[in-house]
Symmetry: C2
Subunit: 369 residues, 2 copies
């Protein structure tokens, strides 16, 4: 059915990530077998179309994907390597060094070349197979994490898997992966949770003043504690290192605030510490690729001026449909005071020129994004 991924694929652990991998692979025509520590979860996964329960006489898997928390992934990978001596085995846990270390401690040396780590980078605040989506990985990074003994063939198979589910493959070794995700995912989670934890104190009148800034900075704080205990525990070293820098800078900021509190004009040192904080943050945030939050590399954003009259947005979307371009996302910015709005239209990057030209031909004003 497909040339990119060998069949059958066995998915072990049908939560959000395992379930979404199954949906994407089934849609691509791959034979998917599912198993889960909970038979109820496995049955639900089958019902949702994630794959089939393997019978007694099911063929051995060619590729096994272990989608389990980091603390049990090494054990499950080892079991799979021993059970199916010809299969490639990958885990998709979000921390890689602890899985590799655990595996080196328990696996037979001759099995190790068939193991490769992977981390399809996607997630939602909701969890479980019920939240699984076939397009969860579309346009998202897929980190392939080989180790010194990995069979090069495994690298090719995972590249094919990444392409099949619409992800963008990149390769990192385990320590580099773990420090990278500490930076882009684990430390942001800790700081968002720390911030949200301060909100249990203020009264309702205070919270009524909350704006979009607070909502954005705390959105990911609404995450599963059990999942994050496993992730933070498994990546404790890298997370600690980055948090050490945060603590140091926080001490500086608090010292500056204390000085300013006693004396509103204590010379420039205290003010400079605060300005440094914000200015360094400016430099950091500008290093994040992609200037429009929602867009990945595979998308472009076309900004169209929208006269502030009823029906203009519907007319724009009708035109986009007639041009034959698929709308991936849409964000509206009102500038009512100026009598116009801006529609930020996210589309496949390859169609940007076409859409821009055709919209201009139809009289729309297309702005520089």
């Amino acid at each position: 059915m497909t040339a990119l991924v060998p069949s059958p694929v066995r998915i072990i652990g049908t939560g959000l990530i395992g379930g979404s991998l199954g949906l994407a692979l089934v849609r691509a025509g791959v034979d998917v077998q599912v198993e889960d520590a909970s038979p109820g979860t496995a049955a639900l996964a089958v019902e949702l179309g994630v794959g089939e329960l393997p019978g007694e006489d099911a063929p051995d898997p060619a590729l096994v994907l272990v989608a389990a928390p980091p603390d049990v992934a090494a054990m499950l990978v080892d079991r799979a390597l021993r059970s199916w001596p010809r299969a490639l085995v990958a885990d998709v846990a979000s921390v890689k060094s602890t899985v590799l270390d655990g595996l080196r401690a328990r696996a037979r040396a001759e099995d190790l070349p068939r193991y490769i780590g992977a981390h399809p980078m996607a997630g939602r605040e909701v969890s479980g197979v019920i939240a699984a989506r076939a397009d969860l990985f579309q346009g998202r990074p897929f980190v392939i994490v080989p180790h010194a003994d990995t069979d090069p063939r495994a690298l090719g198979v995972l590249r094919g898997l990444a392409a099949e589910i619409g992800s963008v493959a990149t390769t990192l070794d385990a320590p580099s992966h773990d420090i990278a995700v500490a930076h882009v995912s684990h430390v942001p989670q800790v700081l968002s949770s720390l911030l949200a934890a301060t909100l249990i104190d203020p009264d309702e009148a205070a919270l009524g003043l909350a704006g979009q800034g607070l909502r954005d900075t705390t959105r990911i704080a609404d995450s599963d504690p059990r999942l994050w205990v496993e992730i933070l525990g498994a990546n404790a070293g890298a997370v600690s290192e980055v948090l050490g820098g945060v603590r140091e800078r926080l001490e500086e900021v608090m010292a500056a605030l204390e000085t300013l509190q006693g004396d509103p004009d204590p010379g420039t040192g205290s003010r400079r510490a605060l300005a440094d904080l914000v200015a360094t943050g400016n430099r950091g945030v500008r290093r994040i690729p992609g200037k429009h939050g929602g867009a990945t590399d595979a998308w472009s954003v076309v900004v169209v001026l929208l006269p502030d009259r009823p029906g203009e947005l519907a007319r724009l979307l009708t035109d986009i449909g007639q041009i034959g371009v698929n709308l991936e996302d849409l964000r509206l910015e009102h500038e009512l005071g100026r009598g116009v709005g801006l529609a930020h239209v996210s589309i496949d990057a390859a169609r940007e020129d076409l859409l821009t030209r055709e919209l201009a031909d139809r009289g729309w004003k297309v702005a520089d994004a």
Copy 2:
């Protein structure tokens, strides 16, 4: 022209906030006079429609709005109180206790009843009059901050002003206001900047893994350092107090991570500290009013199931237009794996029942938000 706000209004300081107030008031038919420490900025403000430069024979203002940083606001308010002995004078700085304290230290006692504090809560990452928008305050909180000697008439005038610019007025005393904004605005800014500051270290490959979580949590880190030095300095006491709690919890988290790093299974204490962090954050974030980020109290969100076919969104928006309901915001959630999408339609809360009923009549499936 308008019954809600006395004319003329003098706006002192034409940055983002002063400029936006001017645009909104001019649109409401109020005579607006502008002045700014920089003549070039004032001239630009006039060109953008914020108001007029007062000539020699201009009438005295009935209301003065001082839109300047907290460190100069008290001085400018005092000057206005002395210059126009019949005018009400309000400042719109984002910290209130330092302005009030500064004013009590310098103003004549008989002038104080004509002063009242205000804080229209809105902002953008961009600053300056060029970013000003007449609708900046629409649907946003407008905190009125009277002091013990404030003339009750001033309270009524500011309520009228809030209504005129489309804001939702609430009243708080200065210390309550300052602790509230420390929680919902100043501490989020510090933590977002601390997080963004960690991003100057990792290499580009690591930053390429950034997802929406990192983008959301660092969006407000792209703010003006000069502005934030003034705000944090002026609210140093309240910000320090909240940050003290953050530091304490950060110490606990780092101790737990250190223990887990040495010993992946050190009993439950360390894991419990991490679970507590995330679970407390869950409780905090759920206290923020309005479960859909973009919506204020004045808006409702209606969620409509969208068959995954071209043209469905355009058809939905055409129907909404025909029903006669104004679309305030629109967010799309794709669930392509399931063959449907969800359109989150933000509208005036008062029109929710109408829209829900009419959409259902036209065959749309409306979900519970």
